[in-house]
């Protein structure tokens, strides 16, 4: 089973793992080496990888993936409340629940394609969001969000240990995961690497090839003898399970779950991450997720005072003007910046950051090769 990947793919997996595991050192210069933000990179990276299995391979654009993220979070918190603070049962439970949820939503939504599919998924996600606020309050604790409490039974834990005074931390066999320590980051990192490896296997498998073919020409697939619906269904459920897994990791590093995790903005965010990084590429969605979360972190921290400091070299009158205008783009206005960057990417670099990297690399290669013309036909499509 391990021998099925090509040498280049192994290099990709090892390189990816190295970067992820060394992130606390590598990201030091850009000020993103603390566990809380690194965990975010991993969790949203995983979310985007899963989303890309649906959108990147089949071309079906779901606008409701946050619903699965939310279901995963709720399931994980319930597992912490009822079963154990160990993260493994929580993860398994979230994946199962998100998978079942995806099966139901996919069954209905996949009857349509294109924009109608997107609208259906969006409708389902908004429905889940509103239900989490209203009728499902006993399950979701409504607006307050689902939290741990001292009265939780935790039936498995209570067999082995007596509960302490405060709220317990989530853990992996005694190692604390929540609370923003390095173990928490390494846990999410390992899950991300496994998720990346599984996605790579799917990309290289006959199943993945069929998904790409569906994206390319679904009609041809039908007249070629394929029943495309179960293929789409499987892709939808797999990407839903990824989202549920990401949701459970969110709960693992910070054990609470609120309905806004299911809101359409969260669904939109994963679309942005995937497109920004590069749709249909393996590494792109992770890069997109990290870039968006990193800049969100930086830009939201700015306020007018910070801006005034930055532009202090300008004369008074000009400075006020510059600060006023640029303050629109930071803090709360960060989404404005994101929107502009996104528009620029879609217009000038539709393949996202990965296409940009490829362009730069090929330019360097050309310079290196001199006038030796590249046999572009032999080049396997990257990713």
């Amino acid at each position: 089973m391990l021998g099925n990947l090509s040498k280049n793919d192994w290099i990709l997996v090892i390189g990816f793992s190295a970067v992820v595991l060394l992130a606390p050192i590598l990201f030091q210069p850009i000020g993103a080496a603390y566990p809380a933000i690194l965990e975010k990179f991993c969790i949203f990276g995983l979310f985007a990888i899963g989303f890309n299995i649906l959108f990147g391979l089949t071309g079906y654009l779901s606008f409701g993936h946050a619903a699965f993220l939310g279901v995963g979070s709720y399931a994980a918190v319930w597992s912490f409340k009822l079963l154990s603070m160990n993260v493994l049962p929580a993860i398994v439970l979230s994946m199962v629940f998100a998978g079942v949820f995806a099966l139901v939503i996919g069954f209905v939504s996949l009857r349509r394609s294109g924009i109608y599919f997107s609208i259906l998924t969006l409708a389902f996600a908004q429905m889940s969001y509103n239900m989490a606020y209203s009728v499902l309050t006993p399950l979701t604790n409504g607006e307050t969000g689902l939290q741990l409490s001292l009265k939780d039974p935790r039936v498995i834990d209570s067999l082995f240990v007596t509960a302490g005074d405060g709220l317990p931390r989530t853990s992996l066999f005694g190692v604390g995961i929540s609370g923003g320590g390095l173990p928490g980051f390494y846990f999410t990192a390992v899950v991300l690497i496994i998720g990346f490896y599984v996605a790579l296997r799917i990309f290289r498998s006959p199943f993945g090839l069929m998904l790409k073919a569906i994206k390319s020409n679904q009609n041809r697939m039908r007249y070629t003898g394929f029943n495309t619906r179960p293929y789409l269904m499987a892709a939808f459920v797999i990407s839903g399970v990824y989202a549920g897994l990401a949701g459970s990791l969110m709960a693992a590093v910070d054990p609470l779950a609120g309905p806004d995790r299911m809101q359409w903005t969260a669904s939109g965010e994963v679309v942005l991450m995937t497109i920004l990084g590069g749709v249909g590429t393996l590494v792109g969605p992770v890069i997109g997720a990290a870039v968006i979360k990193y800049f969100e972190n930086i830009f939201s921290a700015f306020n007018e005072n910070a801006l005034a400091n930055i532009f202090s070299f300008l004369p008074q009158g000009l400075r006020d003007g510059v600060v006023k205008i640029s303050s629109l783009f930071v803090g709360e206005g960060w989404s404005l910046t994101l929107g502009l960057v996104f528009m620029a990417i879609v217009i000038f670099l539709p393949g996202g950051i990965m296409e940009g990297i490829r362009l730069i690399v090929s330019r360097f290669k050309k310079r290196g090769n001199g006038n030796k013309s590249a046999v572009n036909g032999q080049a396997q499509p990257a990713e």
Partner: protein, 257 residues
């Protein structure tokens, strides 16, 4: 054949099809014998493509039946009809433009081997050496082997047709439906395609071919049906059709009017 009446692979009986007020097919009967090349010719708008679409399940006949190898196709989905052994080359090539030629030809081979759906996510495409060898052989046959790593979308129209033909051939269908397989090809390519189709002819595959190019029709067909205004006006061996006055009228009438 020892039998006087050989096996009928495709039996179209009494098929009618209208689009709104337009009658595209009126009481069409067509019997295609096993191992034969059956050409359907006729002027533009005669209903040839509609007839093929009815055969592969893209269109449902208003009444009448299409029977393939003893099975009625009326209620079958397109993928089920393909799995029964019917492949089709379309008038405008239907290929996977974003994938390379090798993948384009391997995908139908997967359908043939694994059926309409298999969750095959643990294997890797590159470990499918047998299917790959098969696909490479087909690409040799259709003369596209050298370009097997090119994207299919980058091919010329004529090459796309040949690719699509290869995608059908790798499935070794019992019945191959060809909708103008040489349209848009240069003479040299047309001759190459005729040679290719002749070679498959010897493999015993039944073919229904729609074609405008009489050179192609008379070099390949064992039997010809002439369709005009939605009905079969003549049927017979190529020699018979060549001298048939009604056929001349249908064609000349179109050419002059």
């Amino acid at each position: 054949m020892t039998n006087q009446k050989s096996n009928i692979v495709l039996d179209v009986s009494g098929v009618n099809k209208s689009f709104g007020g337009l009658r595209a097919l009126t009481n069409v009967n067509l019997q295609v014998e096993e191992g034969k090349v059956h050409a359907i010719i006729g002027p533009n708008g005669a209903g040839k493509s509609t007839l093929l679409n009815v055969c592969i399940g893209r269109l449902k006949p208003d009444n009448g039946h299409v029977v393939f190898n003893g099975q009625t196709l009326d209620s079958h989905q397109p993928h089920e009809i393909n799995q029964l052994g019917v492949s089709r080359v379309f008038q405008t090539p239907e290929i996977f433009a974003d994938l390379n030629l090798l993948e384009n030809v391997m995908i139908p081979a997967f359908a043939k081997r694994d059926g309409a759906f298999t969750f095959n996510a643990l294997k890797s495409v590159s470990s499918e050496t047998e299917l790959r060898a098969e696909a490479e052989e087909i690409l040799h046959d259709v003369g596209l082997y050298e370009r097997r790593f090119h994207l299919a979308g980058s091919l010329s129209r004529g090459d796309k047709r040949r690719l699509e033909l290869g995608m059908c051939l790798i499935q070794k269908p019992k019945l191959l439906l060809l909708d103008e397989p040489t349209a848009g090809m240069a003479r040299h390519d047309t001759n190459m395609t005729i040679e290719l189709l002749k070679r498959i002819k010897s493999r015993g595959m039944t073919k229904v071919i729609i074609e405008h190019d009489m050179h192609v029709v008379f070099s390949l067909a064992d039997k010809i049906s002439v369709l005009a205004q939605g009905t079969v006006i003549a049927e017979g061996l190529p020699e018979e059709i060549r001298g048939n006055p009604r056929v001349k009228e249908a064609y000349l009438g179109e050419a002059h009017g």
